[in-house]
């Protein structure tokens, strides 16, 4: 299996998982965004919302990194610039969710 096929499969599997996670997140977002600190903290630190939110962040970044790299592939001609853009994209898609998950677990302590 070539790399592009693997990337396509990862993209499709992650998008299928992401659709219900998006619906869950939106339904919760509109009900807690304007609530007090304690209520927002409770949402992000209690189960199952902490676990589902963690999944949402991981899959959202994974899917976004793969799909935005396709945009780079289509519109950036310069190979060096494309490589730098892709590396920055993949790096941020790892660092930001890992850091957020770490903060979530710190908040739970």
């Amino acid at each position: 299996m070539i790399g592009a096929t693997k990337k396509w499969i990862f993209l499709k599997v992650s998008s299928a998982i992401l659709v219900p996670l998006i619906l869950w997140f939106l339904l919760n977002l509109v009900s807690f965004y304007d609530k007090s600190y304690e209520e927002v903290l409770l949402f992000f630190t209690s189960q199952p919302s902490k676990f589902i939110f963690s999944l949402f962040i991981i899959f959202a970044y994974f899917y976004s990194a793969l799909s935005i790299s396709e945009v780079f592939e289509d519109y950036i001609e310069n190979e060096k610039l494309k490589n730098v853009a892709n590396k920055l994209l993949y790096l941020s898609a790892i660092i930001i969710p890992v850091l957020t998950l770490f903060l979530l677990f710190r908040l739970s302590l």
Binding site: K12, S15, A16, L18, V19, I22, L23, F25, L26, L27, L29, V30, S31, Y33, D34, S36, Y37, E38, V40, L41, F44, I57, A60, Y61, S64, S67, I68, V71, E73, D74, Y75, E77, E79, I96, P97, L99, T100, L103, L104, R106, L107
Partner: protein, 126 residues
């Protein structure tokens, strides 16, 4: 050939159709959504600062820009999710006929607004 992939022609070269409108909007909302998710991650990190500093976030969500951010987030993610469902049906081999493609394209556009109203309405009613 491996390193010489052809670039997409500039979008202005095409006549606008529902499919092209959905395609470019899907890409734009995809980039907007990753920015929104990054802001949400930043929001989570602000919780570490404690309740007194969190008032800044609460005050932001009470402003017009804060409300617009929430409405925009709901619409942008709804649009993205509906586009993904349309793509998944294409991947299964359904919906390629021009008429069906136009109908599902319109369903994505109108569906995203209907979803936004329903999701926000749920919060207002309950």
């Amino acid at each position: 050939m491996k390193d010489k992939n052809p670039l997409s022609p500039h979008i202005q070269i095409y006549n606008w159709h529902i499919s092209s409108l959905i395609s470019i909007s899907h890409r734009i909302t995809g980039i907007i959504n990753i920015i929104i998710i990054t802001l949400i991650c930043f929001w989570v990190s602000l919780l570490l600062l404690g309740s007194s500093n969190y008032e800044l976030v609460q005050n932001f969500f009470e402003t017009f820009i804060g409300k617009f951010f929430i409405v925009g987030t709901v619409w942008s993610f709804s649009f993205q999710a509906l586009c993904e469902i349309r793509h998944l049906f294409w991947d299964l081999g359904y919906g390629f006929e021009l008429k069906t493609s136009n109908i599902t394209g319109l369903a994505v556009i109108f569906g995203s607004f209907i979803f936004t109203i329903l999701i926000l309405g749920k919060n207002i009613i309950l």
